[in-house]
């Protein structure tokens, strides 16, 4: 892909995620101290609840890296890391503009993944107070089609349904698109493996993802996404987004990777950087819980949302159930 260039026409392939790596290192150092205390509980919970069916420690179990196809690599990333059907996260969102001025928001994210490939998530803003209760609901059907809804409590009991544009564009003032928060839609993408790269002594698979059909093309905002997949744990550590002129438009890097099970990892920090305007959105996971109770079915019900249920009842409900919850991950 020598044709791929950034928006200034420079070679993009030589770019390095050094900054991200350093951030991972720093956060990791700070986080370990806090994590040790809960490690035993988390490990126990994971071992009992979700990981029974998995055979851990199967890095590159099926052969040397050279034999992996692009599709297989991507399938493996999904298989390893998107295996938990119920995930509840408390997040801090930091929006930084080109002059370094920050806006901080607090939010909660509820995710439910179905075995049939369906997927639902709800993002609820809690802070600042003025935007408390604003909710974004995304529901992906098994066939990949998606519906979205936005609820603004201050506007009234009405659910607005954004079109496909909301999927590919920035959502709610961030540098992230809805599609960035959902698992990789492997069914609707064509993957091409590129030359492996090593950055900071970490070997990566480099996989290009193209929309596989016209519908997928319409849904996505990019002509190409280039995934940098770590060869040691199959985490997509970096994704570069290219526009239809194959110029680098956006980059997402994932940091503070936490091993949830033997093969499953989750990033605790995601950084999206817009090449166009230098704007950055940092998504920090303050707390993550893998629990059905924390992600009740009704939370995805528009009626529940319109009744402000997500603002009133859920906190009490979650608080009430927190003690027996199967908490995993950190909570840093």
């Amino acid at each position: 892909m020598s044709a791929i260039r950034d928006r200034r026409g420079r070679q993009a392939l030589a770019a390095s995620p050094r900054g991200g790596r350093r951030a991972v290192g720093r956060d990791r150092g700070r986080a370990w101290g806090r994590v040790w205390g809960r490690a035993a509980v988390a490990a126990l919970a994971l071992a009992c609840g979700y990981v029974a069916a998995e055979s851990p420690g199967a890095e590159l179990a099926s052969g040397p890296p050279g034999e992996w196809t692009a599709e297989r690599i991507m399938a493996e990333t999904v298989r390893r890391h998107e295996q938990f059907p119920h995930v509840y996260e408390e997040q801090t969102m930091v929006l930084t503009d080109t002059r370094g001025r920050r806006t901080v928001r607090k939010c909660r994210r509820f995710t439910r993944a179905g075995e049939d490939g369906s997927y639902r998530f709800l993002l609820v803003f809690d802070d600042p107070e003025e935007i408390r209760g604003v909710a974004l609901l995304v529901v992906r059907a098994p066939d990949g089609s998606e519906t979205r809804g936005v609820y603004l409590p201050a506007f009234g009991a009405e659910f607005k349904r954004p079109g496909d544009a909301a999927r590919r564009g920035n959502f709610l003032g961030t540098d992230l698109a809805v599609e960035d928060l959902a698992p990789e839609d492997t069914a609707n993408h064509r993957y091409v493996r590129r030359t492996d790269r090593t950055l900071e002594q970490v070997p990566y698979f480099v996989v290009d993802a193209y929309p596989a059909n016209e519908a997928a093309q319409r849904r996505t905002g990019h002509a190409l996404r280039r995934h940098w997949v770590r060869q040691d744990n199959f985490v997509i550590a970096r994704t570069d987004f290219y526009d239809r002129h194959l110029r680098l438009a956006r980059r997402i890097t994932r940091h503070d990777l936490r091993q949830v099970t033997g093969t499953s990892w989750r990033p605790n920090m995601v950084v999206a950087h817009s090449e166009h305007d230098g704007h950055t959105t940092l998504l920090k996971v303050d707390r993550r819980v893998y629990s059905r109770d924390y992600v009740p079915e009704e939370i995805f019900d528009p009626a529940f949302l319109l009744a402000n249920g997500h603002m009133r009842d859920l906190s009490e409900r979650v608080a009430g159930r927190r003690a027996p919850a199967q908490a995993a991950g950190d909570g840093s």
């Binding site: 806006t103 003025e130 201050a154 954004p162």
Partner: protein, 925 residues
């Protein structure tokens, strides 16, 4: 000392040439460092109180250094044209000087219909078919943030807004940006009906290119005209070559020094070559005329004699005129506008350098290779040709119609003063260019279709975080915008309120009634989630304490813009109330606001210059009233010039603002030359009218030659690419012609009514001390007063046997013998007897001076006699400006008369002296 300095070029020729060569070599080293500055920053007043606020606002809400790329095509909204537009967009976006490109390809829009709400790119990548493009067009025309801003009302024209990457202070940055933008646009120019770019980079690049065109065109034209004019008046190629050499050296020194000191060349200092050639040549022309005068009187070594003659005659006036001209330019040195200040510094140095080079080099050159033959009309009482006609015509007017002329001049000045009251001021880069410049045509085209390219900001600032989530505060933005719309001169204003109103409308299914700011704080905050920070960056600070209204316009006249901006500031401050602060700022506004400073600077410069010239002239002519009177011929052209500006609607701008001070500096030169020569002649004759006539005849050629040369030289500036330079040239040319009228008609009329004494004459006068120290006429008078009194009197010489006073005649003159011996003779019938003899220091004829009576005796020269004649009427007239001297002289005359009366009384009592015999020190009655 002055004389020694003036003669240095003549007496130390080799040293002079070496010194000039050394200075030239030193200054020439700075030439490669000379920079050109056409940036807008130099047009902004340093004292502008909004400068800091502007920098803060620009830092917060983004630079106003934006270029608009205008595209017009009836088939704009077709896949083929959109594809080409995208190529254009990408081509611009890929430039390293470009920070961001906003266009219909990047703009986002919100669209609500029923329960659906789409917020997407106006022209997303995946909807570029005919249907999608058609939908986008409709969306654009329905979006108040896009229509008129990025897309014309008919949809056929659009603009790409290109934000230029800082810094702009890189050398030649604007030229580089402009070239890059043009390079990106050029290949696609044929793809659209119309395509051009317009913005600060193009303005600055065009300013610079026009500046160089001016330099290439105007300097050679000035030289050609100067040579022709001098050839016409002085008939000497040598005389024409001298100013070129002095001007060339002066310019090399000036530009070299500017390079050393980091003073950039700007659109005003691009005039320097023309100005130095033209102004510098005036002194050279006066000197050459004087040199030819010397040639006509020379015997022996013609060159050396004529050069000495020239220096003696011209030295002091030359010194004075260089000083006053330099002061004219220097009076703008303290201007708060960088453009004017830099020009003032450069031009002052250029004039001083030219004066120095002229004094040093011209005598050297003339003494070595000056012409040996005189020129007709120079040194002659009767001037031939056109100049002679002017002299005779003005002479007739002066003699026969002086009262009428003064009256008419006063009436004319009153009329033009009234016209000057209509004068207005403007300072906008667009107004610098000629109307036919493509830049201005493009700006007008852009404004017809879209909002103007000029941008300013109205910012409201609160101390409270999230203040602009409060509906009441957002409503203040709307209120200000409504006022801006009512003002009717600005094209467009966009603010946070518009964005919120748009989202509110679309949340209500596109209902236009709902196009208003929501009334709940929470809803505003929640609507704002629909915008990316970059979309709001120009309108709302990250902490929502400050909100910005972006205003676009195309007003290029400070006279129109400034009052509206002032009004807007007042209204914004009123709407902001006590809990907020309001700022109305923009680079363009500061440039226009500098127009106000121009008036102040103009008034200050004029005042300072007039005061300084008044003081200098008062000192030089040893009289405050004399200083005042000598200003009149300079002030008249200025009054006429301002009147012409008012009459013809020529505004005061950075170019025309300098005309007055420069013109005064130049016009006073002619006055100084005339007054100097007139005083010299007055010492030789008691006939003032004759002195005036000779003065005018002698000075007419250089005055007329220099004034016409100056007029033509300034007139050359009409060919400038800049309106302000052309206006400067035309006005200066007219002012120079007004100065001819004033100097050859008004100045002589004033001159003939007063008598001034030059300080230099007083200092330089060699008084035979012993002869005068003991004279009773000068008793108790200081040496200075004695010299001044002597200079006011008339110096007469008498051959042996010649009568100074004749018995039986009536006369009101008194004499003071300076040298020689006289005899007092009394005739009684046929008998004549010698009463007494008198010598140096003696006074006689004092009774006739006081009261007109019949002379009682003859006074005859025994030897060759030099005597000062004090004529009663003339002394009364000429000495009215010197009351102290008059008082001292009158007191001494009274004392002389008193003593004489006492002596007569004593003689009557003691019969020791025959009646009527004069006492020592007084005789002749």
């Amino acid at each position: 000392m002055i004389e020694r300095a003036l003669m240095a070029g003549l007496n130390h020729r080799l040293l002079t040439v070496l010194l000039l060569a050394l200075i030239t070599a030193l200054t020439a080293e700075g030439l490669p460092k000379l920079q050109v500055d056409t940036g807008l920053d130099s047009l902004i007043s340093d004292a502008d109180p909004d400068r800091q606020a502007y920098l803060r606002v620009a830092e917060e809400f983004g630079s106003d250094n934006r270029t608009l790329v205008y595209v017009r095509d009836p088939a704009l909204w077709t896949p083929a044209k959109i594809d080409r537009l995208e190529r254009l967009h990408d081509s611009l976006d890929s430039l390293d000087v470009v920070q961001r490109v906003e266009s219909i390809l990047t703009l986002r829009t919100v669209h609500g219909e029923g329960a659906t709400l789409d917020s997407d790119l106006l022209l997303p990548d995946n909807a570029r078919d005919a249907e999608g493009i058609s939908r986008a067009r409709a969306g654009a025309l329905a979006n108040p943030l896009i229509v008129g801003n990025f897309v014309s009302a008919d949809g056929d024209a659009t603009a790409l807004m290109v934000t230029i990457r800082p810094p702009r202070d890189e050398v030649d940055f604007d030229a580089r940006v402009n070239a890059a933008l043009e390079h990106a646009i050029a290949p696609l120019r044929d793809e659209f009906d119309e395509l051009f770019q317009i913005g600060p980079s193009r303005i600055n690049a065009e300013l610079k290119s026009a500046l160089f065109q001016d330099l290439e065109l105007l300097a050679p034209l000035s030289v050609a005209l100067l040579v022709l004019t001098i050839l016409l008046f002085l008939g000497s190629l040598f005389a024409a070559a001298v100013p070129l050499v002095t001007a060339g050296l002066s310019l090399a020194w000036t530009f070299g020094l500017m390079g050393h000191l980091g003073i950039p060349l700007n659109i005003l200092s691009a005039m320097l070559p023309s100005l130095v050639v033209v102004i510098g040549s005036t002194e050279d022309t006066h000197m050459m005329a004087s040199y030819f005068h010397g040639v006509s009187k020379a015997t022996g070594d013609t060159r050396r004699f004529a050069t000495r003659f020239m220096l003696r005659k011209m030295g002091v006036p030359l010194f004075l005129t260089v000083l006053t001209t330099a002061l004219g330019f220097a009076s703008n040195v303290f201007s708060s506008i960088g453009l004017i200040r830099d020009f003032a510094l450069a031009s002052t140095f250029a004039i001083l350098a030219n004066g120095f080079i002229t004094v040093a080099l011209v005598p050297t050159v003339l003494s070595l290779m000056g012409p040996r033959t005189a020129r007709p009309g120079i040194g002659e009482d009767r001037v031939p040709g056109f100049t002679g006609l002017v002299v005779r015509l003005f002479g007739f007017g002066r003699r026969r119609l002086s009262g009428t002329i003064l009256l008419l001049t006063a009436a004319l000045c009153a009329f033009f003063l009234f016209q000057a009251s209509k004068l207005y001021v403007t300072n906008d880069p667009f107004s610098y260019f000629r109307d036919d410049r493509p830049l201005l045509r493009d700006a007008a085209t852009l404004q017809r279709e879209l909002a103007g390219v000029k941008v300013f900001f109205v910012v409201l600032e609160s101390d409270v975080d999230g203040a602009f989530h409060e509906p009441a505060n957002v409503a203040r933005l709307t209120e200000i915008q409504e006022f801006i719309a009512r003002q009717g001169i600005f094209d467009l204003s966009v603010s946070l309120a518009d964005h919120l109103a748009l989202v509110n409308r679309e949340f209500h299914g596109g209902d236009p009634v709902q196009s208003l700011v929501p009334g709940k704080r929470e809803l505003i905050a929640q609507y704002l989630l629909f915008f990316h920070r970059r979309d709001l960056q120009g309108y709302l600070s990250h902490d929502a304490r400050r909100a910005n209204i972006l205003v676009r316009h195309n007003v290029s006249d400070s006279r129109i813009l400034n009052p509206h901006v002032r009004e807007l500031k007042q209204v914004a401050a009123h709407i902001a109330g006590n809990d907020m602060r309001a700022y109305v700022v923009g680079e363009n506004l500061m440039v226009n606001a500098a127009a106000e400073d121009l008036i102040l600077a103009q008034a200050k410069s004029l005042g300072v210059l007039l005061l300084v010239i008044f003081l200098i002239m008062s000192a030089m002519f040893t009289s405050l009233k004399g200083g005042l009177v000598s200003l009149v011929p300079s002030v008249i052209p200025i009054v006429l010039m301002f009147g012409v500006m008012g009459l013809l609607g020529i505004p005061l701008n950075p170019g025309t603002a300098m005309v007055a001070v420069i013109a005064i500096g130049i016009a006073i030169d002619g006055t100084i030359h005339l007054f100097s020569r007139y005083n010299e002649l007055c010492r030789q004759t008691s006939d003032n009218d004759y002195a005036v006539q000779v003065t005018v005849s002698e000075e007419a050629v250089p005055v007329l030659a220099t004034s016409i040369a100056l007029s033509l030289g300034f007139g050359i500036l009409l060919f400038s690419n800049f309106t302000i330079i052309a206006q400067f040239g035309a006005l200066s040319a007219a002012t120079m012609l007004f100065a001819v009228l004033a100097n050859l008609l008004i100045t002589p009329i004033i001159m003939s009514r007063i008598r001034l004494v030059g300080l230099y004459d007083i200092v330089a006068m060699k008084v035979e001390g012993h002869a005068l120290e003991n004279s009773p006429l000068f008793r108790h008078m200081s040496n200075y007063q004695v010299r001044k009194a002597i200079l006011i009197s008339e110096l007469q010489e008498f051959a042996p046997g010649e009568l100074l006073i004749e018995q039986g005649t009536h006369g009101r003159s008194m004499f003071l013998v300076l040298s020689g011996e006289v005899e007092v003779l009394r005739h009684d019938g046929d008998e004549t007897r010698s009463i007494t003899r008198r010598g140096a220091g003696d006074v006689f004829g004092e009774v006739g001076y006081v009261r007109e009576i019949q002379r009682t005796a003859d006074v005859r020269a025994l030897t060759r006699v030099q005597a000062l004649r004090f004529d009663h009427d003339r002394m009364q007239r000429d000495l009215r400006y010197f009351p102290r001297i008059v008082a001292a002289l009158n007191f001494n005359i009274s004392r002389i008369l008193g003593e004489r009366l006492a002596d007569v009384m004593d003689a009557s009592d003691h019969h020791s002296v025959p009646p009527g015999e004069p006492e020592r020190g007084a005789s002749g009655r």
